[in-house]
């Protein structure tokens, strides 16, 4: 009988799912991992809900890091940050395949394997998006001096973006709000950033900008306008490099 494990769509939830799948000591091809709220009903299958368990997840993470190395673990984390519904299953079967490989560090190189290829594709998507947001994200200075930024990311990349800005602005108070997930990175000056979820941000506070903010915004808008060479104008190329979904969050396009 086939087994379908249904896990939460979080890093811990999915890694717990993988742990439970191994615990079953069944043929791996008979087990499938699905995400909560995205279940696909299959005939002749037994369904089982997996409750996220941090201890089990950490064991899986430790094994992954030990056998495949930190880089592969990072790739997997990126893949799990996407919204793809098949990601949990791909990671699970990818790991199964990886553990049977002779050269385990070559995990990400084994693109001929469909599961590993899916992991590769998803994680490339998320890491590209992360890199884009590093550049396209815009801060606004609020009246109280805090730098505030709003993003709308396809994948859940906030935790990949935050360390970069913590390193870049160690002495600034800043916040990055992911509007899609209602998650927020909060970084108090000279301290470690934290992730906050829920509607904690007061709209009125965010709308009060500091006095000079408008000036710098218009200066930058003017700069972007002036830097373009008229003889070479190519709006199609601009949009190709900078898709519209980013533009709505950027001051120079407002």
């Amino acid at each position: 009988m086939n087994k379908v494990l249904i896990c939460e769509d979080t890093l811990i939830g999915i890694f717990t799912g993988i742990y439970v799948a191994y615990e079953k000591k069944m043929d791996h091809s008979l087990i499938q991992l699905q995400l909560q709220n995205h279940e696909e009903l299959l005939l002749f299958s037994e369904y089982e809900n997996v409750t996220a368990d941090e201890e089990k997840a950490i064991k899986v993470i430790r094994t992954l890091k030990k056998t495949f190395g930190d880089d592969v673990y990072q790739w997997i984390c990126y893949a799990l940050a996407t919204t793809d519904t098949l990601k949990a299953d791909a990671v699970y079967h990818g790991i199964v395949c990886g553990l049977s490989m002779k050269q385990k560090q070559d995990f990400m190189g084994n693109l001929a394997n469909p599961y590993i290829h899916t992991i590769f594709k998803l994680s490339r998507m998320a890491s590209n998006e992360t890199h884009h947001w590093l550049g396209f994200l815009r801060f606004q200075q609020l009246e109280n001096g805090i730098l505030f930024s709003r993003i709308g990311a396809k994948s859940n990349i906030l935790t990949f973006v935050a360390p970069h800005f913590q390193d870049r602005f160690p002495n600034e108070n800043f916040m990055i709000l992911d509007e899609v997930r209602n998650l927020c990175v909060v970084h108090p000056a000279r301290k470690q950033w934290v992730l906050v979820s829920g509607d904690l941000i007061a709209k009125e506070m965010v709308e009060k900008l500091s006095g000079s903010e408008e000036d710098y915004q218009s200066l930058f808008r003017y700069f972007c306008d002036k830097i373009a060479i008229k003889e070479r104008v190519n709006l199609k190329l601009q949009q190709q490099m900078l898709p519209l979904r980013y533009q709505e969050y950027m001051v120079e396009f407002q």
């Binding site: 870049r168 000079s212 070479r232």
Partner: protein
């Protein structure tokens, strides 16, 4: 009177004028250095570089690209800021530059500063002004982001050296590919005065690297390396000459990048060519493609072009063009070929070649796997085989492959010549909507068409 007007100039006006004047400089990369923040001030640097925006011409904005001043004592014919042009002039103060950079950087608008300048009084004086601005930024504001400055030919080597320890990248513009072009269009500059600072920077980069190897805390000198740029299409050089110059710069001066900028007609001058079709963008594109082949694909300029064939093919990219002339080296067996051989296959890039090498360690690759890996099969299929088989039965024949490759539309960042229409003549035999349908064939049979 003039002074009164200038005194009233706002930062906004200055930014407008000095951005306008700086926009023809090509280099806007912010790559080459990995540096994390030391806890003071702000800023870090990422080796891959980060693009922060894209302007209407599709070029990336990653640095605040401005001139310190657009006043200039030189009279280069191609340059908008030349002495004899009547354009509004402005100069920043070091504080204004520092303030703009810091405030833009805080808001994550930019990755750093690109500072160039027109020449005021003399080159050394100008470089000293730049030095003051950069010094302020680095030591008063503790800015640790990316800084790229232009080294001005003819400046005192001591200023160049001092500045080199503060910035990430320095560049000296070669301006034009040959000595003759330079003396025609930039009478105040000589090849010798341009190459001297380039050599100085190269030597100091090398010696600073050696110092760092021994003594870790030694200051890095221009850690992101130096670059240069040439104007394409203002003088009659062939592509072969340009590529040879670029190759020389990479090999003899260890440059990180050479940039090519399609000549844009900003001044009316009898020595400048008229370009009715706009700037030579396709030529610039081909040169960049070839430049990549030199830097990452192990090609040499002499392989791509020669005295007899001095210019790139308009219809084919340089790599496909090379492959067609060397069909004896193909087809390449994907599962056995060396990395170097894979790199030379049209449709296979650096990344896909690396992926092929990694993936074939685990299992033999077929065409499906290649597609997944990212090989562009519609271009590569004439040049590769997997496990001894080609994708389709294909003639290894130059004409046949050329015909097929030209049909695969090349992805260009712009339309080929900007036009999609052409003049129709009565004698053209064009079928305007491709295939004929059955009715049309019947009509033709009865002589009704």
């Amino acid at each position: 009177m003039e002074i009164a007007v200038r005194g009233a100039m706002s930062v906004m006006d200055k930014l407008g004028i000095l951005t306008d004047a700086a926009k023809y400089d090509v280099a806007c990369t912010s790559s080459g250095v990995d540096r994390s923040n030391q806890g003071q001030g702000m800023g870090n640097s990422i080796a891959s570089g980060i693009c922060h925006s894209f302007s209407a011409d599709g070029r990336c904005i990653s640095l605040l690209k401005i001139l310190f001043t657009n006043e200039c004592i030189y009279d280069c014919k191609y340059c908008i800021n030349r002495k004899s042009n009547d354009v509004p002039r402005a100069s920043f103060t070091p504080d204004e530059v520092a303030d703009l950079t810091m405030e833009f950087y805080r808001r994550n608008y930019i990755e750093g500063l690109f500072l160039s300048s027109g020449i005021i009084n003399n080159p050394t004086f100008t470089m000293e002004l730049i030095y003051h601005a950069i010094y302020k930024l680095r030591f008063q504001h503790h800015f640790q982001g990316y800084i790229h400055v232009k080294a001005i030919p003819g400046a005192d080597p001591l200023v160049v050296q001092q500045l080199g320890f503060l910035v990430d990248r320095m560049s000296v513009n070669l301006e034009l590919p040959t000595k003759e072009g330079l003396s025609l269009l930039a009478p105040n500059k000589t090849r010798k005065s341009i190459l001297a600072p380039m050599r100085q920077i190269q030597n100091q980069i090398v010696s600073s690297k050696q110092e760092i190897a021994v003594y870790k805390a030694a200051k890095p000198f221009v850690p992101a390396g130096q670059s240069s740029q040439m104007i394409i299409g203002a003088t009659p050089e062939s592509d072969y000459q340009i590529m040879s110059v670029a190759e020389g710069l990479y090999q003899k001066f260890q440059l990180k990048r050479v940039f090519y900028s399609a000549f844009i007609h900003v001044n009316e001058d009898k020595d400048l060519p008229a370009l009715p079709g706009g700037p030579p963008l396709l030529r610039e594109h081909r040169l960049y493609q070839a430049d990549w082949l030199l830097r990452f694909y192990g090609f040499e300029a002499g392989e791509l072009l020669s005295e007899e064939r001095p210019n790139f093919n308009i219809l084919l990219d340089p790599k496909a063009d090379w492959a067609l002339r060397h069909l004896e080296q193909f087809p390449v067996e994907i599962n056995k070929a060396t990395y170097q051989a894979l790199l030379r296959v049209p449709g296979v890039g650096v990344k896909s070649a690396q992926r092929i090498i990694a993936a074939r360690r685990s299992q033999k690759l077929g065409f499906d796997e290649l597609r997944k890996i990212g090989v562009v099969l519609k271009r590569a299929l004439y040049f590769i085989c997997c496990n001894g088989r080609m994708m389709y039965p294909t003639k290894i024949d130059e004409d046949y492959i050329t015909r097929n490759l030209i049909q695969v539309k090349e992805k260009l960042p712009f339309s080929l010549d900007g036009t999609t229409y052409r003049q129709v003549s009565l004698f053209d035999d064009v079928s305007f909507h491709g295939q004929t349908n059955r009715e049309e064939r019947q009509l033709a049979l009865f002589g009704q068409i």
